[in-house]
Amino acid sequence: MEPLELKKISDISFDANLQKYNALKKAQSDLITVYNNHIFRADAHTICLTRTLAETHKEFYMLDTNDNPVSITDPQAFLATLIARNQSALNTYHQLHQTLKNKKV
């Protein structure tokens, strides 16, 4: 491979990785949601725990992002909020990821 071609490929990969890095950071930031006056991260862990607890409890306690206990009095509404936030963040990330995939060598 010619050095110039190698540099070009390397530059394209660097650009794509930088954009992926920033898109992922943005997605992580977008996952932050507020419910019942507390901060949660609408990530897979929080969604799975909420779903699991909601199967057997009408009300339960969870920890917010600062490890403070929060009473979840309407699990279905909370779960809907988490899923909406999660999918909104990941849909944006997915769109950018698709663009990057097309750019990558």
């Binding site: 950071k25 507020v34 901060i39 600062n66």
Partner: protein
């Protein structure tokens, strides 16, 4: 309960901070829709055009000896934010923090009386913001503070004032290698001391930070295009903290 944003803006011989603040105000009006109070000196105030959504507090007794990145930097009055804020629930932010989202508004819908970021990341992915080897305590980022007026929060600001007045002592105590006054360290020390040298509540995300050596090519209502190391990229719909003060001219 009255909510609002408090900004500190002091022009220096090298940087027209009011021009940076002007863009910051536009984005606050667009995305947070909160009233704004700007603390500045008379000479900076004379540069502002009247804005219906902004009130001004003028202070002229400002420490003008401090520097940051080898340039004059007068933003050392943040410890007075509790007294300067006319609001019950306040967001204090640097004028070079651009809110392209309403995220801070969401964070105000919580019971927390004081929130601050513990983490920031370099959007050029070069890890230029790692300061963990420069002191004995973890840095916080006083770029954005969200606080309510409570007795506990008053004590936080009183402690920051104590630290500011004895800054060299606290630098030695925490082995902080950067001896010029820095709000980030002052708040980190205050929170560390008041929380009994253990953990405290924070905003669970990292501030997207554009480093000082990155050029800002364009800015609009959605985001900005940045150039760094011959690479250009655009960041949109996320809040950004811009360290390159030449953004005043973009």
């Amino acid at each position: 309960m009255r909510r609002g944003v408090l900004l500190y803006c002091f022009n220096t011989p090298e940087t027209a901070y009011h021009r940076i603040a002007n863009r910051c105000v536009q984005l606050i009006e667009q995305n947070l829709k909160l009233p704004i109070t700007i603390v500045c000196d008379s000479s900076t105030l004379s540069q502002w055009q009247p804005r219906p959504n902004c009130d001004f507090v003028t202070i002229d007794e400002v420490d003008r000896t401090n520097t940051k990145l080898s340039k004059p930097w007068y933003n050392t009055e943040r410890h007075l934010a509790y007294d300067h804020s006319p609001y019950d629930h306040t967001v204090v932010m640097d004028v070079d923090y651009f809110c392209f989202t309403d995220k801070l508004l969401r964070l105000m819908d919580t019971d927390y009386d004081f929130l601050i970021h513990k983490n920031a990341h370099d959007v050029t992915d070069r890890n230029t913001l790692k300061y963990n080897r420069e002191s004995m305590l973890d840095l916080v980022w006083a770029t954005v503070l969200i606080f309510r007026k409570t007795d506990r929060v008053k004590k936080i600001f009183d402690t920051v004032r104590l630290i500011k007045n004895n800054y060299q002592h606290f630098c030695k105590l925490y082995r902080i290698s950067y001896s010029n006054f820095r709000n980030d360290y002052a708040f980190a020390i205050a929170l560390n001391q008041l929380s009994g040298f253990v953990d405290f509540d924070s905003i669970p995300e990292s501030i997207a930070t554009v480093p000082a050596d990155a050029d800002i090519l364009t800015v609009n209502n959605e985001g900005m295009t940045i150039s760094s190391m011959d690479k250009q990229f655009t960041l949109q719909h996320q809040d950004l903290h811009v360290l390159n003060k030449e953004i005043a001219d973009v």
